[in-house]
Amino acid sequence: MSEALAVRPGRDARRALGMTPGKFAMWAFLASDGMGFVGLFAAYIATRLHADWWPDPNNPAVLNVDLTALNTFILVCSSVTMVYALQACREDRIRACAGYLGLTILGGVSFLGIQVYEYIHLAESGMVPWEDNFCATFYSLTCYHGLHVLSGVIYLTCILIGTLRGRYNSKNYTPIEIVGLFWHFVDLVWILLFTFIYLLRPLGVESF
């Protein structure tokens, strides 16, 4: 028990980096993952500006904007519960931390449920991914994002299990902070997607 303990082997590296290696890696991952979204987004913009005709997404026959606004709100709320989870862990309130993580997961699952419901209704009304450019870009962007939400939910579940097993506390909360970074990134991307896909109505072209 009285064996000596090495003090911070990688201390200087961390100082130079300005953060823990895990956090650095997550930021680097998010930077590269963001490029995936940027590629799809650029394709969407080019396709949309190219198009002679684009459906008005605010038209209830096209997209259900009200439902998606609710979905956006859910995702924003789950981001807030995520930061509360981190704060609770930093203050050693582990049960509160687990509760907030659970709420975050619930938010993510609700988001996915509503999105699947939306997809089913769109497909029933004939809006399938191969229908036209609008459908193709809509499905590729939202589905790519939805897969991120799904991986976020799985990732959060793993962290929740760790929290319930008492793995994290005020001295060791970096994994919770890192999963939070991923989750907020997913939220951030959705905020942009919601505006640019669901809310921007066609400019020069008459909507149907």
């Binding site: 650029a42 080019a46 190219h50 924003v76 981001s79 907020h184 942009l192 809310l199």
Partner: protein, 193 residues
Amino acid sequence: MSENPRIAKEIQKLEARINEIEARPTYSSTPAWQQEVAEMRLQIEALRSGEDVERAEYRRVEIPEGGAAHAAVSVDASGAAVLDPEALIEHELHGEQHADYTAIWFVLAIMTLFEWKLSAWFKVEGLSLWMALSVMAVVKAALVALYFMHLKFEKRTIFAILVLPFVLALCLFFLVSPDAQQHVWDWFDVGRG
């Protein structure tokens, strides 16, 4: 003894830092900073006894019999001592700095509501709607990044990671823009005609 001026300066620096930490109860009450102070004291002691500065930096901390007497050291189920350097460095770098999350959430929720009902409530149409919505989306995204992802409180090194993808993203948009540009001008011609 510390005849060497370099070592004397080093000791002075460490003592100044200890005083600085102990003058702030918010810091000096946390285990991470207590650990920091304990380490610096060990380092001073080592320097006084003529040890090399670099070696002193990595001096080992003896865990007292029975475990968790040391502030920053916890004991896990198997009885082994656990020191989490990641948490220590986090404390050292960021402390407990964060924004009022509830206020940020409120702003985000209100902005989402306005975005959703902007054209219905305020009869904003066409290009001004695009501009207003885009600005609001970017502001919301920035709020999430700055406050929820703690970008505002990070060290500046983080921007070195983020600048390159941002520049590449802009390049990508500019590369596809010649394709799209002609059509944008066409729209405006249609509008004038």
